[in-house]
Amino acid sequence: MAKVLMKGNEALGEAAIRAGCRFFFGYPITPQSELPHYLAKRLPEVGGVFLQAESEVAAINMVYGAAGAGARVMTSSSSPGVSLKMEGISYIAGAELPCVIVNMQRGGPGLGSIQPGQADYFQAVKGGGHGDYRLLVLAPASIQEMVDLMGLAFALADKYRNPVMILGDGTLGQMMEPVEFPEMLDPEKLPQKPWAAQGAKGREPNIINSLYLNPLELEDHNLKLQAKYTQMAAEETRSESYYTDDADIVLVGYGSSARVCKAAVDQARQQGIKAGLFRPITLFPFPKAEIQAACRQAKAVLTVEMSMGQLVEDVRYNLEFRVPVHFYGRAGGMVPTTRAVVSKITELVQEGGRSA
């Protein structure tokens, strides 16, 4: 397959098509709009449906309808729009429906900004809407990885009958890198979904529902959902460890922040500082065993985010507070610079004694 230079948002759209997705319901919002623009052209070419809804609330409910009807379906938005979709996402998780939700994060809170951000981390990994449910959250850090994770997202959504979120940010959406696409999956050849609502022909009616007025039944339903999340934690964690084997200080970051951290690790190494990077790719389920392994010999951990500190809490939690975890973040759409991260590293290393 030939490589092609492509913008992140558009690559996500093409990757969804290659994954057999034929339905998109969305609403305009910067910095993800190139994705709907791309699919508005592309989906009709492959016999799919692109529909711009009257609001994000309507869009996520169209996804609920299409997913319950058995289709591979997606939506995309950015921070404020994703907040509007929270009730719908809770329904989708409660009714055990597969779909893919893209959030190209931007500065917040409120209207915030249109520059990149990572301040929706809590919302993404802790469920976001009402009730005990989780989204499987994938965090790409390159355009190729966005393409690969989109295919994975649809596969995992169907495997677990659960919504999957691709958590990016404005930088990843707007930048261009060469990418390679997988072969096209034929939606007709995807596994059948006997539970879907397609007309009760020769069977009892299927019901797409998240209402359980009997509390015992709803508790059992919750236990069933939790079992999925336990299985996800056992089978689906993904991460990248970069120069962590002998690292005195391990940086932790996802998405665009991880790219900055990688450059900072390289520079620190040149200055004789044994730095490394741990990059979670699945934010839920959090790669706990992997981060513990990566930080086994670290004297300090530095979490770098485009937020006021959210991932850092889960890093401390998953490292069980066995190593001091520091935080460096920019917010409002500001992007951390490599120089600033390197100076933070040297500052921490001096405090903790020079690394040999």
């Binding site: 809804a53 309507a58 169209m62 299409a66 009807a69 009730e87 007309g199 529902n209």
Partner: protein, 249 residues
């Protein structure tokens, strides 16, 4: 002996949770009779959002969705776009369609979604305990309008059929009632037309059915139907607001 009236196949045997004399039960049966008569039970997918009829998935013997309050037309849009050859209907109350779901119903009609909406207007929120609805009449009391609806404070009741009839995408809009056997027959005819308009892919179809709420109106089932006739029909006139040419006859 030949049977002239029996339970339609498109209703399950389940007893409903509706209050005694609540005309939701009649409307459910009319929809089911129409689905039977059109022979589309195995092709039909229904959506019932939050409201008294949220449990409709227990009563319609077809594939059913329970949807978020106000969002059934959006859910139906998603389904119809995936299965353009299936029959898709929403069954919504007045709080659902005319309050929280106003945008969804207007845009479904604006897009000319080829779905059928059954809009049950009983001028009150039933399930949650008698609150004022967008269709609550002036002077009508409700738990959130204890001294009766006052236009100065709560504005005026909304006539959704007339509003939607202005939409080019709307192919058939009618308002009917079920307060006596003759009106029930007319209501069924309108509901059947609304489903046929969908089968003929003419566009969006909606039947607004004036319905009673004995419990929250504080009336006996029979008195409630009389109240409906004397108070709701003057404000919500019955009739066809919009229809494709050949159906107009």
């Amino acid at each position: 002996m030949i049977t002239v009236f029996e339970k339609p196949k498109s209703l399950t045997p389940a007893k409903t949770h509706y209050c005694p004399g609540c005309t939701h039960g009649i409307i459910h049966r009319l929809v089911a009779e129409v689905i039977d008569e059109l022979g589309v039970r195995e092709e039909t997918i229904g959506i019932a959002p939050v409201g008294c009829s949220v449990l409709a998935y227990n009563y319609f013997n077809v594939d059913m969705y329970e949807a978020a309050h106000g969002r059934a037309p959006a859910v139906a849009t998603g389904i119809k776009r995936v299965h353009p050859d299936k029959v898709v209907f929403t069954y919504q109350g007045d709080g659902d369609l005319a309050a929280i779901g106003t945008a969804e119903i207007i845009h479904a009609a604006a897009r000319g979604e080829k779905i059928t909406t059954i809009f049950v207007n009983n001028a009150i929120y039933g399930m949650t305990g008698g609150q004022m609805a967008p269709t609550t009449l002036i002077g009508q009391t409700a738990t959130t309008a204890p001294n009766g609806r006052d236009p100065e404070v709560q504005g005026y009741p909304i006539r959704m059929s007339e509003i939607l009839a202005t939409m080019p995408g709307a192919a058939y809009i009618a308002r009917v009632s079920v307060h006596n056997p003759q009106e029930v027959a007319k209501a069924k005819k309108a509901i059947k037309t609304a489903f046929q308009v969908q089968l003929e892919r003419k566009g969006f179809a909606m039947v607004e059915v004036l319905s009673s709420c004995p419990t929250n109106w504080g009336l006996t089932p029979l008195k409630a139907l009389e109240w409906l006739k004397d108070n709701m029909i003057p404000y919500y006139p019955l009739g066809v607001q919009k229809a494709p040419e050949e159906v107009k006859a």
